[in-house]
């Protein structure tokens, strides 16, 4: 029960952080971090897969409401929530049986890095392709994806470093 409450708190925290603060950051005019996808990285692995899909869809949709973008955030975050399981199996070499005892903080940094980089780049690529909505400015999509991914990941690692230190 406590865990569920924590997740809902995290959901709203990331949502408000993204909408009220991060959406206003336009580094070098075009680079924007999308930190809300951290929700999908840290969502408990022992919970039902359906609740993750529903939550990530809703989180994306809420952010769409604020950025007038139809369903692009919902679509991108739903997609990485869907492939999270498969990327997880490949990167951490684990099966579904290990889910109950799995914790992201106890894994070696290298594996966490690979895992988050793969999901972030896929998310940002889908997001910027849908924002662009044509093949016309395709090089822009690639550069936006790379720069924004670097920015998002930098914020995520800084944040996780600070918060994990506090707990120990």
């Amino acid at each position: 029960m406590n865990k569920l409450f924590n997740n809902i708190l995290l959901f709203f925290f990331l949502f408000l952080l993204q909408v009220l603060i991060l959406n206003n950051i336009q580094l070098f005019d075009y680079v924007n971090p999308y930190l809300y996808i951290v929700f999908i990285f840290v969502y408990p692995y022992d919970k039902s897969k359906f609740s993750l899909l529903s939550f990530s869809f809703l989180l994306g949709l809420f952010i769409d409401f604020f950025s007038n973008s139809g369903g692009i955030h919902a679509s991108a975050s739903l997609f990485i929530a869907f492939i999270r399981l498969y990327v997880f199996k490949i990167v951490f070499q684990k099966t579904e049986a290990d889910f109950d005892f799995f914790s992201l903080n106890e894994e070696p940094f290298g594996k966490i890095f690979n895992y988050t980089v793969i999901l972030t780049i896929i998310h940002h690529f889908i997001l910027f392709s849908l924002i662009n909505f044509s093949f016309h400015n395709f090089p822009n999509v690639i550069t936006d994806t790379l720069f924004s991914s670097v920015f998002t990941l930098l914020l995520y690692f800084l944040g996780s470093f600070i918060f994990s230190r506090k707990q120990s």
Binding site: L61, S69, G71, L78, F79, F133
Partner: protein, 276 residues
């Protein structure tokens, strides 16, 4: 039947994903067609309310620069008043108008932007004026420096504005020193630069010329500032396209005015009846 149930059971995770993805895609596609994107928009009650709160905080921080802009605008208006007073004192014989019934064609409604975006391909702004203040879709939005966009959907208190930095945006514009006109569009590359297309070939222009709205549409009155000519993009090709640097800094927009055109319906009726 059993096969079907078995299939659904086996792939329920993927099917659920597919269902949500289809919803997201249909919302995205709807958002790209003008006047259809009413569900996911920043002009509804909750999003408008939250945006309003945050913008009132950032507004406080921008007070100083807003003041200088207002002073600048006051100066221009005072100059105009002086000019008008002068013309009243020194009447010139002009063709008489119907002085008993001086119908205004345009009315300005002030407001402010509560959300602004400029880095995407399809950009929108949200303003804190809506149906209660008489705002309807397809009304012009400007500020003291020039053109900003066209309202595209209004709730009771808020409206969403399709920015000129939107690939769907097409606005009639002309040169200040001649009556050749073209269409103002945006290629989604730089938020300070828009494009003027379909200019007649005989039009003469040079770098630095001012571009204003043309008054050929029923939305914008004639003579609203847009920007200056930056350089010629493709002078040799049939598409006469020029780059225009906007007067407005689209990343920094505070107070705005919405323009109501009282004659809009009359003009549109006339045009549709004439075409039939």
């Amino acid at each position: 039947m059993q096969q079907l149930i078995f299939f659904i059971r086996k792939y329920k995770y993927f099917l659920y994903f597919l269902l949500l993805q289809i919803i997201a895609f249909s919302l995205t596609i709807n958002n790209h067609s003008f006047h259809k994107s009413k569900f996911v928009s920043s002009a509804n009650y909750i999003t408008g309310g939250i945006n309003n709160k945050t913008s009132s905080i950032s507004e406080y921080l921008n007070l100083k620069s807003e003041n200088t802009i207002l002073v600048e605008e006051n100066k221009q208006l005072k100059n105009k008043v002086e000019k008008l007073l002068f013309s009243i004192k020194n009447p010139v014989t002009s063709p008489l108008k119907d002085t008993l019934n001086p119908l205004l064609q345009f009315e300005y409604v002030n407001g402010k932007t509560i959300a602004n975006e400029y880095s995407k391909t399809y950009n929108y702004l949200t303003i804190n004026r809506g149906k209660n203040h008489g705002i309807k879709p397809e009304m012009a939005v400007v500020n003291s420096k020039g053109i900003i966009g066209i309202t595209d959907y209004s709730s009771n208190k808020y409206s969403r504005v399709q920015s000129i930095l939107n690939k769907n945006s097409k606005i009639n514009a002309k040169f200040k020193n001649s009556d050749h006109f073209g269409t103002l569009t945006w290629n989604a590359k730089d938020y300070n630069i828009v494009q003027l297309e379909d200019i007649p070939r005989q039009a003469v222009y040079k770098t630095g010329d001012t571009i204003i709205t043309g008054g050929k549409s029923t939305i914008f009155p004639e003579g609203i500032l847009i920007g200056t000519i930056l350089e010629n993009l493709e002078s040799a090709s049939a598409l006469n396209v020029i780059n225009i640097k906007l007067f407005n800094d689209m990343s920094n927009i505070g107070p705005i005015y919405t323009i109501k055109n009282f004659d809009k319906e009359e003009i549109e009726n006339l045009e549709t009846n004439f075409n039939e």
